[in-house]
Symmetry: C2
Subunit: 235 residues, 2 copies
DNA sequence: GCAAAAGTGTTAGTCATACACCCATGT
DNA sequence: ACATGGGTGTATGACTAACACTTTTGC
């Protein structure tokens, strides 16, 4: 594959590495959360940080991001999206390492720790109560939060954070957490129901000392069809 | 700086490079254009390609992207934004190179070729009539086009492509080109004027065989103020 | 029967859309 | 005077925003 590569070029440029870092979002009935891991290796051993890793020379970027996620949890079909690449010269103490950041959306209710990995020390942190973070991870999270916030307005991706069946109240609280604002209950329900994308499961929530709520699920099939014919979701 | 770096890690990972590639947009009264350069060096010598370059080990990513742009034109204060990072394993014949793509917005009317560089062979191509492109540059342009299209709906960045003074007709044609659609003239003008962000320069366009048009300029100062107090532009 | 969250409609204002003709200039 | 693009207003329907009380359950 390598043909006519100038030795000078090789020496001058080919001594960098890159990593992927995942901002894994979850939601627990009230708060947006992020999954952090406790670093067991240098650099920054002993700090909570974003799950991430160096990318192998023969590994696609997106695959690397998935690998990092698989080391954390055995969930499948996780929503994932690249956000931004952070490339300050001195961001990594080992040398020149730029990092490509992704965010991922996980149903905390389904979440299970993948025991076979360094993820034994993973923990959910409320997005408003994060510990001190190494590298530029604080900046990355800020970026991820905004990217997700924006995107969640125009695509129904937030729903990835809820269990398969959910109540309208849960849905509203989720969107309120993402958008960091409050919505009027009647208008919120009206708008969401009028899109015709929620399927009544004929089940009710139960076990609480108040009126049970209708459980809905999101009609992804219908959404995909509508989208192809020009419909666009917006909150 | 490098402390306790495992030799194995160095050998295993630190043999990659990264580049930046710029999608430079321009507008010429009717068409969106992209600036391509004629490659004078391997790989893909002799093909038209995005202006880009390998990033030095001690050079910030954003600085590298600016450097590439400065090699092309001596314009200052150019709008530039990172879009996405492309990292397929075999995208570069010299080895593992991922590329961070940016787009930049240039006023073609002010554009001048920076003679002191490889940019002597730069040329504007209509976005709908691009030549065959090396690497994954076609994919990058597609990505850039969509990112710009989206962003231009919610921030008045498209205006960066027009000369300082412009007519409402030019403005409409620009937005039509970006959004690949047509707008109703009366509604378009109404909406834009009602934002109160266009300043009548009291000049008229001239030299054409028809009624001269009012020249406006965009009130960036006012826009920045409004934005801070919660106003949000949308087309 | 009371606490706690679920659920429901109407009105007023704002915004988007659709649509056709006269105006000012150069030749 | 004619060709060319510049410039303007209104009416209708759609959507948004504001707002308060009744229902159903567990205890």
């Amino acid at each position: 594959m390598k043909k006519k590569v100038d030795k000078e070029i090789l020496q001058k440029f080919f001594h960098a590495a890159f990593s992927v870092d995942n901002v894994v979002f979850g939601f627990d009935e009230s708060d947006l959360k992020i999954l952090l891991i406790f670093r067991g290796a240098e650099p920054y051993k002993g700090m909570w940080a974003l799950p991430g890793d160096l990318v192998y020379l023969k590994e696609d970027l997106d695959i690397a991001a998935q690998r990092v996620l698989n080391d954390l949890t055995s969930l499948e079909n996780i929503f994932m999206e690249q956000i931004h690449t952070f490339g300050r010269v001195n961001r990594h103490p080992f040398g020149r390492v730029i990092t490509v950041a992704y965010y991922a959306l996980i149903k905390i209710s389904d979440y299970n720790i993948n025991a076979s990995s360094w993820a034994e020390n993973a923990m959910w942190f409320s997005i408003n109560q994060l510990p001190n973070l190494p590298f530029d991870h604080a900046e990355i999270i800020e970026f991820a939060k905004n990217a997700f916030k924006e995107k969640a307005l125009r695509q129904p991706i937030g729903i990835e954070l809820l269990p398969k069946n959910f109540t309208l109240t849960q849905l509203q609280h989720l969107f309120e957490a993402i958008q960091e604002t409050k919505f009027d209950t009647r208008n919120f329900r009206k708008k969401f129901l009028s899109m015709g994308l929620l399927i009544d499961t004929n089940k009710r929530s139960n076990g609480s000392a108040h009126r049970p709520a209708t459980l809905y699920r999101f009609d992804f099939t219908k959404y995909n069809k509508l989208q192809k014919s020009g419909f666009s979701f917006h909150l």
